[in-house]
Amino acid sequence: MSDAKSIFLKDATVNAADGDQRAFINKALGGYYTNRDLQKARYRDWERARDAASMAKWSAVNDLANVLEKFVANFERNGGVVHWARDAEEARAIILKIAEDAKAKAIVKSKCMTTEEIHLNDALEKAGFGVVESDLGEFIQQLRGEAPYHFVFPCMHVKREAISELFTKHLGTAPTNSPEELTMIARRHLRQLYIDADIGITGANFLIAETGQISITENEGNARLTAALPRIHIALSGIEKVVNHLDDLSVLLPMLATAGAGQPMTCYNTLYSGPRKKGECDGPEQFHLVLIDNARTRILADPEQRDSLHCIRCGACLNVCPIFKNIGGLAYGTTYQGPIGSVITPHLRGLKQWNHLSGASSLCGACTDACPVRIDLHHHLLHNRRNATKESPTLFDLAFHHGFTFVIKRPWLFALGGKIFRATLPLLQKLPLPYMGAWMKTRDLPKAPSQSFRDQWKNPNV
């Protein structure tokens, strides 16, 4: 068993038994379901909107080299600097170098899962740079020293009392029970940091080839401030975020908000095309964009699962997933939790170590139904299971497969096996079956029929 798997099994078992926490998560998601349905009802045809969204991503991903080239040419024409990173290490080195060259004293960050993917904060801190997460949820998780629980709602599992305690401990503020007051504490604390920071780091939700702009989606305004006040703006983005046309956003932006958070539109959707232009009064002097592969081309090379690169990270598949709701986001041990995380993590980190996530699904298909860009999520979990067995079958897989093939090729053996099974089934009822304890605790074995199906077929009247 891989380490990742044994940790997963342990954590998942503990969390699934924590009824309080599960009720808390379900309550937190309750409002989301209501709002999402209200907003979806405003779409005159949600299914066709999903078609449009998935086609917008499909046409860019399946022509990635050309679209990316066009994007980069336009981005550079607008005055931005593009950097390329094959993997996490290269991306960290590029960003560290920019920070060193700038002699940065303070760095402020807005929410960006790609920076989590490359463990950027650790690298910056080790190199002696102070870095502060400005998204409220990420700020709380940074103070807790914990990874995000959900890639859209990072601290949805934390109760307000715990947040109040955290703020008292780290910021010295008076305890309070009000989410509003807690939010204001963070607001007051962070405001001066935006002003003092030399570098602002953000992610990107979309890269628009036609215009060379990057699009950032957020609710709080922290990304706007991060890209407005520091003198250097660094954005980190996966290469798969590119879309062809500016107009694609007229579909993708509202759908991202509705599917992921039940909003008509996220509060701030901002397009950046470069550093401060001549005649503009503020904005950064430098605008760097780090484009990272980090195994995305590996997913691209698998035509069956290529559509998982269409993901717009809305989080809808997590919000509806029975596994996510029961075991919680931290148990996954991944940057991307829930169904999409279970699909792509084996590609990013290795199928052998991470295939257990393919089993973390009831295959109910709720994720596939929820996905605004129609990613075939639950089938991809099956594809990963198949690929894992092909790549490195376990002894059990091999024995079972060979045994089954041997028997099924010999009808007489199959019939004999059936006979023995029918005869011994009553006995099995009484024996404790290996590996089946948990299943059998609440279930009885069915009674064996007196005849096999084949016998009945031959003598229908008996």
Binding site: Y43, E47, S54, R160, G221, A228, D247, V251
Partner: protein, 226 residues
């Protein structure tokens, strides 16, 4: 050793040698290359200007933004002055624009043309920022500001209150129309920032409970002339 850029492109080209099937679609709703194509499956933005204004008012109310319609510029100035007095604003920053200068000069508190002598620390101390906008999207209640129409990047996000003054003719039905308008107006000289603002800043990070004014403005006013 080859550089990262050519390596990544080589990997992409290699990967794409095998074609992927088109997604299973339910309709034929691929977005058009130009946004003149209406998208009759998205939320409605109104067929006529009046429809659009009705939808806009509904959307803004749901977003907890405040929508004030006034007949002319003098009334707009009066509306802003009233707000300022009621809310007891002491310092107001505004974008240096012909539409906004008379409005600012009608205020009795300290006013400052932020983009003429930008200073982020001073801006942080302002109670409100007044800007114009590029366009307003009825369909979603979004206001499109830009570094050109809104006095740079910070004026519409740093002060605690954001007031937008616009003409009714700036209302467009949907997001596609707003994007097309921005493209037609700026061509390949886009302002370095274009931002769709949809209601006051908000967060649900604590127990998924909605709180307004996370980092950006807690209050958003749209004053529409005409």
């Amino acid at each position: 050793m080859s550089d990262a850029r050519s390596d990544i492109f080589a990997r992409i080209r290699e990967a794409l040698k095998v074609k992927a099937p088109k997604p299973h679609l339910k309709g034929d709703g691929a977005p058009g290359k130009t946004s003149t194509l209406a998208k009759p499956w998205l939320p409605d933005g109104g067929e006529t200007a009046d429809d659009s204004l009705t939808i806009l008012a509904e959307q803004l109310a749901k977003l907890k933004g405040v929508f004030i319609r006034v007949p002319d510029h003098a009334a707009a100035a009066k509306a802003v002055a009233e707000l300022s007095a009621n809310k007891n604003w002491k310092k107001v920053a505004y974008h240096g624009d012909a539409l906004l200068r008379p409005i600012a000069s009608a205020l009795t508190c300290e006013t400052w043309e932020a983009d003429a002598s930008f200073d982020k620390q001073r801006l942080e101390g302002c109670d409100a920022g007044i800007t114009t906008c590029e366009s307003i999207v009825a369909q979603l209640g979004s206001i499109l500001v830009s570094s050109a129409s809104s006095g740079g990047r910070a004026l519409s996000i740093l002060p605690h209150v954001h007031v937008v003054v616009a003409e009714a003719s700036q209302v467009v039905p949907d997001l596609g129309a707003a994007l097309a308008l921005a493209k037609a107006r700026h061509g390949d000289q886009m302002p370095s920032m274009l931002s769709f603002i949809t209601g006051p800043s908000r967060t649900g990070d604590i127990e998924r409970i909605l709180v307004l004014g996370a980092h950006g403005p807690k209050e958003l006013y749209l004053i529409l002339v005409g």
